[in-house]
């Protein structure tokens, strides 16, 4: 499998000692959806600006679609589609006018361009809005137009900087479907940033969490969650046990940790929650406890995010 995006040790500083990127490296396989998440100011947009040839790093190197970003920016620009954090449409122009101009910039014209524009208007449900100035668009329509603009020339690599920020749940869900469809046939690589971890969970084949200009953890969302060690198990007993008996019974079981009994509620962590439950129920039954309910919570990406961005702050503080 080839790499559609490779960034190596990117460092970028802005005036005033702002170190936006502090040695960020990443690599995305062709055809995958790669998501970047991280707090405000973490350096996500800065990474995008460098990879899309808008700005240059102080040091480090990058290749997009196999082309060196610093040496051949003109060739990179032909190969990529970019949807910035801000909308990029001209407010006074209509949806179609925006799309036509974008196509002309990329060398499309005539019938081929008209067909492409119509196709995109249909696909992004912009048909009715095609002849209205984009300043009259709703937030959802504007964002759909932004994505359509990025796709006019059928890029190999698509950059989406917070594509769904500010959208209502419906609009987000429909944009998710579109993004999934784009990546579906494996012909396009998508790099996206998001503040919504459910979005990353749903869309990303690979998630990198960025903090203070570096990637602090990365991997497929499933792996990241599994690495957190421990689903949360919560049991409710029919009657409150006497002190210590439940804890003692459960401590004997392998693979359980953080056991906590509080009235009728018992909490524990298990690396594989689902497989730990039968043993757990059996042990409680043998000791004569009746269980009225069991819930199992998988670790979420929020846990992953908090753990990595949260920890890092203390590490940094110690170092400084």
């Amino acid at each position: 499998m080839t790499q559609a995006i490779i960034a190596h040790e990117l460092v970028k500083t802005y005036p005033g000692e702002v170190r936006a990127l502090d040695g960020l490296s990443l690599s995305a396989d062709s055809g995958m959806i790669f998501a970047l998440a991280g707090p405000n100011g973490a350096g996500k947009s800065t990474t995008f600006k460098i990879l899309t040839t808008l700005s240059r790093p102080d040091t480090g190197s990058a290749r997009v679609a196999g082309i060196d970003v610093l040496r051949q920016p003109e060739r990179v620009r032909q190969a990529i589609g970019v949807v910035g954090q801000k909308t990029g449409a001209t407010p006074e122009a209509t949806g179609s006018e925006n799309l036509v101009m974008q196509g002309e910039i990329y060398g499309l014209s005539g019938r081929a361009l008209r067909q492409r524009v119509n196709q995109l208007l249909d696909r992004f449900d912009l048909r009715e809005a095609a002849d209205r100035p984009t300043k009259t668009f709703s937030g959802g329509m504007r964002r759909r137009l932004d994505v359509a603009l990025g796709l006019v020339h059928r890029p190999q690599v698509l950059f989406l900087d917070e594509p769904t920020t500010g959208l209502d749940p419906d609009a987000r869900a429909s944009l998710w479907l579109e993004i999934e469809r784009l990546a579906g046939d494996g012909a396009m690589t998508i790099l996206l940033t998001t503040h919504y971890l459910d979005e990353a969970d749903r869309l990303a084949d690979h998630l990198a969490i960025v903090d203070r200009g570096r990637i602090v953890t990365q991997g497929p969302p499933e792996t990241l969650k599994r690495e957190l060690r421990g689903d949360a198990i919560q049991l409710e007993l029919e009657a409150a046990p006497s002190d210590g008996r439940v804890t003692a019974a459960l401590l004997a079981l392998p693979g359980l940790s953080e056991i906590l009994a509080d009235g009728r509620i018992v909490r524990a962590r298990a690396e594989h929650g689902a497989s730990a439950i039968p043993g757990l129920l059996g042990a409680l039954e043998r000791e004569g406890f009746a269980v009225s309910s069991v819930t199992l919570a998988r670790p979420s990406l929020d846990d992953v995010y908090l753990r990595h961005t949260g920890h890092l702050y203390t590490k940094h503080d110690e170092r400084e």
């Binding site: 899309t52 240059r56 970019v82 910035g84 801000k86 001209t90 407010p91 122009a93 101009m101 002309e104």
Partner: protein
């Protein structure tokens, strides 16, 4: 081929935005009338000063006014750039294969169209209030030509400045502190022999004055073709330099983001 297509697309984008603002069209039409009538009335008696030999003051004023309107419209060109930067449109263009020169050339073309329209309005109005153009259409065409040359340079410089300062306030400050003084340090409203010596010295290096002199000479009697040719050449050189600078300034902008 591609540079031309890109330039046309950028021009079209600006023109669309412009012509969809009825208020702007109204202001563009009314402004020349106000200036012409105001200055015409205000400075009417200048024509009676001993030593003034430009015929009627309206005739003398028209070329100066055309040049003044050209730069006062083109000077603001960079505001649209700043708007585009704030919207994110500029970044979308800069990550696309668009020819950088087209971003300036398109903006300049739009300014040229505005200037040509405004100048025609002024010339037409001038005729109705007693002005004359002894050299006919050709003379007026040269006058409008030099005004657009100067306006195109101002637009390019304004665009370049916008890319460097990136802030509305700074651009407004720069434009207002340049256009008005340059206009009054020229012979736009006062005959050369009647202004103080030091202004005459400065005016020699003032591009606004080059355009006023060349335009006025071409449009009125006793045309000094040598003067027209040299001033036009200077304006052309200025335009090429400023267009180059405006295109180069994208690098400065990209370094700052």
């Amino acid at each position: 081929m591609t540079p031309l297509r890109h330039t046309w697309q950028v021009t079209l984008r600006y023109l669309r935005a412009l012509f969809r603002q009825p208020a702007w069209i109204g202001i563009t039409l009314v402004q020349p009338m106000i200036w012409l009538l105001l200055f015409g009335a205000l400075f009417k008696s200048i024509a009676r000063i001993p030593g003034f030999h430009g015929g009627s003051y309206i005739e003398f004023l028209t070329p100066g006014l055309i040049v003044m309107l050209a730069i006062s419209s083109a000077g603001w060109s960079g505001m649209a750039y700043i708007e585009d930067m704030n919207l994110g449109v500029m970044d979308r263009f800069l990550v696309s294969p668009i020819w950088r020169g087209a971003l300036n050339a398109g903006s300049v073309t739009q300014q040229i169209i505005i200037i040509a329209l405004q100048s025609l309005i002024v010339a037409g109005l001038s005729l109705t209030v007693g002005g004359r153009f002894p050299n006919g259409v050709g003379g007026v065409a040269i006058l409008i030509g030099v005004a657009t040359l100067l306006g195109a340079s101002f637009a390019s410089l304004s665009n370049a400045l916008a890319l460097v300062v990136r802030q509305r306030e700074s651009l407004i400050g720069a434009v207002t502190s340049v256009t008005l003084p340059l206009t009054f340090l020229s012979t736009a409203f006062m005959q050369q022999t009647l202004v103080p010596h030091w202004i005459r010295v400065i005016a020699r290096f003032n591009p606004v004055n080059w355009a006023v002199q060349a335009g006025r000479s071409a449009a009125t009697q006793h045309t000094d073709w040598n003067l027209v040719a040299t001033r036009t050449a200077c304006l052309l050189a200025l335009l090429l330099t400023s267009a180059w600078l405006a295109t180069r300034s994208f690098r400065a902008y990209q370094r700052s983001i």
